[in-house]
């Protein structure tokens, strides 16, 4: 029986990919004060960013409920006896915790393996896609997990924030904030893997894009690249163009960043995910 792959909306996977690879996506919950929206279902990404800027209330995102997980797992249990559930990093969200509780509820009816990607956006998305491809090719559950974990090890995700305003409001980035100084306006470039870590800073957006690009290209043997934006498709195109020029035979995917990172990064956020090739693994 084919292994079924599940993930959450933080993976930022385009609809075509989700459908082609038969991935099941469970939405994160976006909260604007009392209003709760299912990410991508009750609120599109575009609507989210409009609301982010205009709403007097700063939004937060929260993991899908245990019940939401149960529903999905129960439904899939009717089609398969093995599920691999790959999710946003445990330090970024309680999603993995909710998945684990739901798994325990299902008991022996279905084997459910949960993978903590330690990543977000395409840092998670690439791992999910790799797992789904393996599953589609008939891999065993071990093979599907291995495919996901391999990408988890080999991926690096960088994010450039236009402003610290949203991060401050969300209260998530205090460690980063300490390094950033509020006497000069700076654009931080962060590493988004396992946790958020500061990597560099620039004073202008143009310099920030260039710096993030340089940092990304410094990884050896790149086999896959993701370029993510929230409300700046032209910048994403430009960045993707730079990547393609530098790495001619490497596939470059552009996608939109959702609320999971967007709520803290703000509408100007840009990100890149790099997957190193297998042979360069230590």
């Amino acid at each position: 029986m084919t292994v079924r792959v599940v993930t959450d909306s933080a993976a930022d996977l385009p609809r075509e990919v989700v459908e082609a690879l038969s991935i099941t996506v469970i939405p994160l919950v976006v909260l604007f004060g009392d209003e709760a929206f299912r990410d991508g279902i009750d609120l599109t990404t575009g609507q989210f960013f409009e609301k982010l800027v205009s709403s007097p209330v700063h939004p937060s995102t929260s993991q899908p409920s245990v019940g939401a997980f149960q529903e999905v797992y129960e439904a899939l249990a009717g089609q398969t006896d093995t599920i691999v559930s790959v999710h946003i990093g445990a330090k970024f969200s309680g999603t993995v915790a909710a998945a684990e509780v739901a798994r325990d509820c299902l008991g022996k009816r279905c084997r459910i393996e949960i993978v903590d990607s330690q990543g977000a956006s395409l840092g998670l998305g690439f791992a999910v896609a790799a797992a789904a491809r393996a599953a589609k090719e008939g891999a065993s559950v071990e093979g599907v997990i291995a495919a996901a974990e391999s990408v988890v090890r080999r991926q690096h995700t960088l994010a450039m924030l236009d402003t610290l305003e949203y991060a401050r409001r969300g209260g998530r980035l205090s460690r980063v904030e300490a390094l950033l100084g509020n006497l000069l306006h700076v654009k931080p470039i962060l590493s988004v893997k396992t946790e958020i870590r500061p990597l560099s800073r620039t004073r202008t957006r143009a310099a920030g894009l260039k710096r993030m690009f340089d940092l990304a290209m410094a990884y050896p043997g790149i086999e896959q690249v993701g370029v993510m934006h929230a409300t700046s498709p032209e910048d994403a195109e430009m960045l993707a163009g730079w990547v393609q020029e530098r790495l001619q035979n490497v596939p470059v995917h552009i996608t939109r960043i959702g609320p999971a990172l967007g709520a803290h990064g703000g509408p100007g956020i840009m990100a890149m995910t790099i997957v190193e090739g297998e042979k360069t693994e230590a």
Partner: protein, 568 residues
């Protein structure tokens, strides 16, 4: 040296071992005491000529302090020489080299310290020396000076030093080649070489000045010669004498264990009329502690530990003429890494690589701290800290790997010297301005090591353009640009390129030259001579001309440069 023993005739009396070798060659020997007194006289003469030397800097900018830097270097040199308490020439020379090494300020100070190093190395086995040893030492000093600079340039102190060594050697071969005559020949050669520097360096010729560093060396040699000739009328009591050491002892006691380790150790000398030590003491006690005020109606010496050095110095300035101003950050002196008062936002992650930043200006210091600089070395009025200050800052970092950002071309040699003398792994990223320093510091990656970060920071510093606006202290011509004293001039990435009749016009013209399609952010750091209102007005003017650019204003508080502007 008040009431000290200057020789009454020439140096061949007063206990010098006078001997004559074959063919009447002079083999009179001299002690470390003679050496010290010669250099002390050189230092005094240098002090008296320091302002004049400052004013012949090629760039007519107020912080071109070659004279002051060389004098301060020599003062530190002589402090060490007197501390040694020895009569042996090699010990005194070695002490001088050590004092110069640590006390070197500015590029000219560093070269001078290398000259003294070569001099000391040559005399390392001589407790007494004769004129031939002296000549050999001058040779060694010239070689050492050349090695101090990676790209030696003709028409500078290096040329003068070489000419001095050559002339001394020539004279010593001749009849009556005694020390006095050898030194006289050296002084003549120095004078000549200095006069020729404009023919070797076009910038000097155009500005109509001789090389300041070379002039400083000539003045020092002249001072030493006057001493040998007993020509005392022109030499005022030496600045370096016992009272100096007494002061040093007294103030050191104030830095003992148990003293509050915060703020700035602030010292200055006030000369004026009807000065009141008691009133001054009271005022200083309001500002801080560890206060020491000594002196009389015409000269007061002040020391205190305060969080407001500017206030203390302003008070001093209101009393008379200030000199020997020293402001050192006690926290860094103590080798402790203490967060500042506003600190909770400014405590940086302790990454693998520490950063030492040299900067003048309270606001600029704040900015660098807020960007996470590990240690900040205040440049002071001359914007040139000593090698020791930079070294102390390096040692105060918790990290074993440190990057130094000098932010001024005149601090580079001193920073290199400090790096060489640290037991830590230190790299210098040659930032030439405050904006370059900020861009470099921003590029620091806490996850990378020393060499990778040095490379990142080197790339980053080149991305920013700098405009520095100040007042011309002299009428001159530089690179074809005619500048009148008092005009508002701007240096574009270190090159004097604009002269206008108002600071606003200078900024406008500079932006006109530098702004291009890539520019998106202009930051105006306003200095101590400017106000927030002036800066806002200037920013509004700039915004009107460049509506698509972001224009930020930041309080810098820097001396001399009314505006420092960065383009990114």
């Amino acid at each position: 040296m008040a009431g000290g023993k200057f020789p009454l005739s020439n140096a061949e009396s007063e206990g010098h071992a006078v001997t004559r070798g074959r063919r009447g060659r002079d083999t009179t020997t001299y002690s470390g005491k003679d050496l010290r007194e010669m250099f002390a006289a050189a230092t005094t003469w240098l002090e008296q000529n320091a302002q004049a030397i400052n004013s012949i800097n090629v760039f007519p900018v107020p912080d071109g302090d070659t004279g002051t830097n060389m004098y301060l270097t020599m003062r530190a040199t002589m402090d060490e020489a007197y501390e040694s308490g020895s009569e042996a020439a090699n010990v005194v020379a070695g002490a001088m080299a050590k004092g110069a090494l640590m006390g070197a300020r500015g590029n000219s100070g560093v070269i001078l310290s290398q000259i003294l190093r070569g001099f000391a190395d040559s005399l390392s086995k001589k407790e007494r020396f004769d004129s031939h040893d002296f000549v050999a030492a001058l040779d060694e000093a010239a070689v050492s000076a050349d090695r101090a600079v990676s790209h030696p340039v003709e028409g500078t102190i290096l040329t003068v030093m070489r000419a001095v060594a050559a002339a001394a050697r020539e004279r010593s071969k001749k009849l009556r080649g005694n020390l006095k005559n050898v030194l006289a020949a050296a002084v003549e050669a120095a004078k000549d070489a200095v006069a020729k520097t404009p023919s070797l360096l076009p910038a000097l010729r155009e500005a109509g000045v001789v090389d300041a560093g070379g002039q400083g060396l000539y003045v020092m040699l002249e001072g030493a010669l006057r001493y040998l000739r007993g020509d005392l009328a022109s030499l005022a009591p030496l600045a370096v004498q016992d009272p100096e050491r007494t002061w040093a002892r007294a103030t050191t006691a104030l830095h003992g264990i148990g003293e509050a380790l915060y703020g700035y150790c602030t010292e200055f000398l006030v000369s004026g009329e009807k000065l009141n030590a008691g009133a001054t003491l009271e005022r200083m006690l309001e500002l801080g502690d560890s206060v020491l005020v000594v002196g009389d109606e015409t000269l007061l010496r002040v020391h205190l530990h305060t969080a407001e050095p500017e206030t203390a110095i302003s008070y001093g300035r209101s009393l008379g003429r200030l000199s020997q101003i020293k402001v050192d950050n006690i926290e860094e002196q103590a080798g402790q890494f203490v967060a500042r008062v506003q600190a909770s936002r400014y405590v940086p992650e302790i990454g693998i690589v520490g950063t030492v930043v040299v900067v003048s200006g309270a606001g600029l210091e704040d900015v660098f701290r807020s960007l996470g600089a590990t240690a900040v070395v205040p440049g002071g009025e001359t914007m040139n800290p000593s090698t020791r200050q930079i070294l102390q800052a390096i040692e105060s970092c918790p990290q074993e790997q440190v990057i130094v950002l000098p932010n001024n071309k005149n601090v580079i040699l001193g920073a290199q010297q400090a790096a060489r003398n640290s037991r830590k792994r230190v790299r210098l990223v040659g930032t030439l301005s405050v904006p370059q320093g900020m861009a470099a510091l921003l590029a620091l990656n806490p996850e990378e090591g020393l060499d990778d970060n040095a490379a990142l920071m080197e790339d980053a510093r080149r991305e920013v353009r700098t405009i520095e606006v100040t007042k011309a202290i002299r009428t001159t011509t530089v690179a074809g640009l005619r500048v009148r004293a008092g005009q508002d001039i701007a240096l574009l990435d270190g090159t004097l390129a604009v002269a206008e009749d108002s600071p606003q016009a200078a900024v406008r013209e500079s932006l006109n030259r530098l702004v291009n399609d890539q520019t998106s952010l202009i930051t105006i750091y306003y200095g101590a001579q400017s106000t927030a209102e002036d800066a806002e007005a200037l920013a509004d003017e700039v915004r009107a001309v460049y509506p698509s650019l972001q224009v930020d204003i930041v309080y810098g508080g820097q001396p001399h440069y009314r505006y420092i502007v960065s383009l990114e």
